[in-house]
């Protein structure tokens, strides 16, 4: 499993019948310790209601089909959790309210400038 950030949503009208009703999110892979983006982006199915900006836990491969909502569907990446907190080396590196510790200074600067 990996930690990612929801950066968008993919809309697809013409798709496999078994994907009708499945939300498809664009999720950027993150370094769980620092919150830095790795540059990898994937289309990830979501059945728990994650939204833009959420940090999520993504499961890959056949594991993505082991939920009631995705059983027997052509899905190989699935949001299985919306992350509340991450602790690494004894420090709170991420919280849903405050974001990643390493990005707080940068984000504060951006908010100030807008």
């Amino acid at each position: 499993m990996n930690v990612g950030r929801v950066v968008g949503r993919a809309v697809s009208t013409q798709k496999d019948d078994k994907l009708v009703g499945t939300t498809l999110l664009l999720v950027e892979d993150l370094d769980a310790a620092t919150g830095a983006g790795t540059g990898e982006v994937a289309i990830v199915a979501d059945t728990i209601g994650a939204g833009a900006g959420d940090v999520v836990l993504v499961t890959h491969g056949s594991a993505a089909r082991f939920t009631e909502a995705t059983k027997d569907r052509p899905v190989d990446a699935l949001v299985v959790g919306i992350v509340d907190a991450i602790r690494v080396s004894g420090a709170d590196t991420f919280s849903r309210q405050r974001g990643f510790a390493s990005g707080r200074t940068r984000r504060a600067a951006r908010v100030k400038s807008t």
Binding site: A33, L57, S62, A63, G81, V83
Partner: protein
């Protein structure tokens, strides 16, 4: 199976119902020199590993053969805590 060090944990309250009661650990995979190799990953922990411990993992379908993980949407599980590693010519923690 991959050797890794437990570096932290992930808390996710809103999650797939199939993951109720599951503990998530942040792992840093280790290379042949026992140093960090690649970025951190998240695994379910079924053996009670603590931060700083070296562990090994089972991936993909094997992860769901870990205790209590059958039928759950997990792709990586901590399945053992390493007590000792013996490398040729030298012994390391």
């Amino acid at each position: 199976m991959v050797l890794a060090e437990v570096t932290g944990l992930v808390v996710a309250t809103p999650k797939a119902g199939e993951l109720e009661g599951v503990r998530f650990a942040v792992l840093q995979p280790l290379g042949a020199d026992l140093r960090a190799r690649g970025g951190p990953v998240v695994a379910v922990d079924t053996v009670g590993a603590a931060e700083g411990q070296r562990v090994f993992t089972a991936a993909a379908g094997s992860a769901r053969l870990a205790s209590g993980m059958r039928g759950r949407p997990v792709d990586l599980a901590v399945v053992g805590i390493v007590d000792e590693i013996a490398l040729a010519k030298r012994s390391v923690a």
